[in-house]
Amino acid sequence: MIIADRKPINEILYMIKDCKKILIVGCKGCVTVCNVGGAKEVGILASILKIARKKEGSPIEIDEKTIERQCDNEYVETIKDIVNNYDAILSMACGVGPQFLSEMYPEKRIYPALNTTSIGGALRHGVWSERCAGCGNCVVHYFDGMCPIARCSKSLLNGPCGGSSNGKCEVSKDIDCIWDKIVRKKMQEGRLDDLLVVREAKDWSTARDGGPRTSIREDIAE
């Protein structure tokens, strides 16, 4: 899923400083699953913002609405009858949400309440970790199911670098060295030969480096 974190409250307060009435829109997709932009978090953010504005002496009116997904126009459309009641809309979805909202409601000011961080999964309750960099050409099978593009700080295809220490990355002891894991698994499974090759430079044209990407399913595209 897409993982995100909430923006600092003061940053959000600054965005909406001139607004008297706003709508916070949540998303029932990924950000609900990673507990950052679902109905519950929308409610909490609304309370926080109301308290903050009351304290400042400029109370704000806030309504809440959580829609199925903000990355599908058919759901974004469901708020069309109410958007005009507000000075601004605060999207609690990943970076896609505020953009789809802006495209559908071009006259409205749309603000992001979240910082989108990565594509990943839940390690345990409350902890999410990056797994995919969306490079457009999956190579995890070469590395026993582990992606060095997303999980090595240097995206090395021929790792590990000289900074790998005790299974941790040179960047931080909080980051696992994925190359340490790859090498150990290869050795354990008797597949070390897989690594005794020079893996060629990656073609990044399928990644973001090739420009914004569009996926089309010819069989169903309208």
């Binding site: 600092p8 409250i9 003061n10 308290i51 304290k55 002496g57």
Partner: protein, 65 residues
């Protein structure tokens, strides 16, 4: 445990907003332990009085200004 984490979270939010985090507190009291409950309530009452009116209180705010 879960409640403790949530209370801490609320305290952090209050701090971020510039409101004294001590305004929220959690105490562990057994259901049968009436006297402790009273003690905690008194302690909290005292603390709140020391802190003074809530910054969200309009009258207080006007006076402060």
């Amino acid at each position: 445990m879960k409640a403790k984490k949530k209370v801490l979270h609320v305290k952090n939010i209050l701090k971020e907003l510039g409101i004294e985090p001590e305004r929220v507190e959690m105490f562990n009291v057994a259901a049968s332990d009436g006297p402790s409950f009273v003690d905690f309530a008194r302690e909290m009452d005292k603390k709140i009085r020391e802190l003074g009116p809530s910054p969200l209180n309009e009258k207080y705010r006007k006076k402060a200004a």
